[in-house]
């Protein structure tokens, strides 16, 4: 078996769709999950797939956007009001990086369910392109399994509960304490430039949040806040690096007087940024409304 037996399910050139990539072969779909310096495989054979679900990730709800706008203002306002000039440039960099992240977020995801497993992965692009990918998956499964017992899918006695039962064979989802940890880390991240003790608390909170957000059931709302927290850390790195140079006096309002924490902050921040970049697109829980393709 050569590497050529696998080809990507979809091509993504500039959007990173989380840490799960999908590759298709003749008889199965290979899901490759990257973790640190390794990758782990899950094979879903076409003949075993019971259901395919396409669902929206709800990343652009009005509540979320309002929350993110408030967070943006809370970060940018002090910079603009206290010291126009160089800090404004840094703020625009932050704004740009946030916009790149926001508009690069996947909006749709796919879930494949077998009798013993249910796996999710994000899909790139619009609903039309996502449907095209899902149609390819459906064709592959139908070639392996044939048609449903009835002549038409609607005649097979399908109801809303069937795909849900296939998608969630295990016990129902439950809330996780990770939400609280992420909120704490985010607030500490926002406040940490102004107090060295808050920064000392921020570093372990960042690490704890990163490890806890590995949970697949982690909602996107708080994760977006975590992403912003990481972006804010980038801004602080930039300020710190500039302060090392001779232009540091231009940054007087953004006080950064804890020099001895400079290197750990860079390391922690880069670590957090890489982590959030690789792991922030895990999927939210699908909504309960079910509408079959043929409806």
């Amino acid at each position: 078996m050569q590497n050529r037996m696998y080809r990507p399910l979809f091509e993504t050139f500039w959007v990173r769709l989380g840490n799960v990539r999908a590759w298709r072969s003749a008889d199965h779909l290979l899901l490759v999950e990257s973790r640190f310096f390794s990758e782990h495989y899950t094979r879903l054979f076409w003949a075993d797939i019971q259901a395919i679900l396409l669902y929206e990730l709800h990343t652009q709800s009005s509540v979320l956007l309002a929350l993110e706008l408030a967070c943006l203002l809370s970060v940018l306002a002090p910079v603009f009001f206290w010291q126009p000039g160089w800090p404004s440039l840094a703020a625009f960099v932050f704004l740009f990086s946030y916009a790149v992240w926001r508009f690069g977020c996947p909006q749709w995801a796919c879930q494949l369910a077998t009798r013993t497993n249910a796996r999710q992965f994000a899909l790139p692009g619009t609903l039309t392109s996502c449907r095209r990918v899902v149609e390819e998956l459906k064709d592959s499964v139908r070639r392996a399994q044939g048609a449903l017992p009835g002549t038409q899918p609607a005649e097979a006695g399908l109801n809303d509960a069937a795909p849900q039962a296939a998608a969630y064979p295990n016990k129902p989802l439950r809330k996780q304490p990770v939400l609280v940890v992420h909120v704490i880390a985010f607030v500490l991240g926002i406040l940490s430039p102004f107090n060295v003790f808050i920064f000392v608390l921020y570093c372990p909170a960042l690490i704890a949040a990163w490890f806890l957000q590995q949970d697949l059931k982690f909602p996107f709302a708080i994760r977006s806040a975590a992403v912003m927290s990481q972006m804010f850390a980038v801004l602080r790195i930039g300020i710190w690096l500039l302060m090392v140079t001779r232009v540091r006096f231009y940054f007087a309002p953004v006080v950064f007087n804890h020099w001895r924490f400079g290197l750990p902050q860079i390391v922690f921040s880069l670590y957090g940024i890489a982590a959030i970049y690789l792991h922030s697109v895990k999927l939210a829980q699908p909504s309960r409304r079910v509408q079959p393709f043929w409806a």
Binding site: N3, H28, F37, A47, L53, L54, Y55, V141, L148, R289
Partner: protein, 165 residues
């Protein structure tokens, strides 16, 4: 949400039911008291629903599956791979943040990249660009350190010579 279901959803769970063997019928190789309903496509052993493993379109027994995992078909059963190229790149680049450690890690990264060059980092297509980047970056770092030490030695030698004169 949009959903589609397939015949596998309505397929009976074969492994959950089994019947006791009666006289004149074949029993499972691993469970002689159970009636055999499958045979291994590789070794021909009779199997009950519990022992039958459906893998890559075949009915196989656990022994054949284990043999396949150690043989030429190991790749088809691989559960993961280690990214030697990413680790080499990390060893080559991250210590540069601390500068002084890069003096030790750059040769280490270079040796590691060359040593693991032929190792398989993934069963899906993956380029060697990380290995190349790690090698180039570590060579640049080594060159930088050589220049630094050469300058330091030369400077000290001149200073020392001047004092003697």
């Amino acid at each position: 949400m949009e959903a589609a279901v397939f015949p596998a959803l309505y397929r009976a769970e074969e492994s959950s039911t089994w019947e006791a063997v009666v006289s004149g019928e074949a029993g499972c190789f691993f469970h002689p008291d159970r009636i055999a309903v499958f045979s291994c496509d590789r070794c021909g052993r009779f199997l009950c629903p519990l022992c039958r493993i459906s893998w890559a379109g075949e009915n196989v027994c656990t022994a054949c599956l284990e043999a396949a995992s150690n043989g030429k078909q190991a790749r088809a059963l691989a559960s993961g791979r280690f990214h030697y190229d990413s680790l080499a790149l990390a060893i080559a680049t991250l210590p540069v943040l601390t500068w002084i450690f890069s003096m030790l890690t750059a040769p280490l990264a270079l040796g590691f990249a060359l040593f693991t060059w032929r190792r398989e980092c993934s069963i899906v297509p993956r380029s060697k660009i990380r290995f190349v980047a790690a090698i180039l970056f570590s060579m640049l770092t080594i060159a930088g350190w050589i220049v630094f030490w050469a300058y330091l030695v030369r400077h000290n030698w001149r200073t020392h010579s001047g004092r003697i004169e």
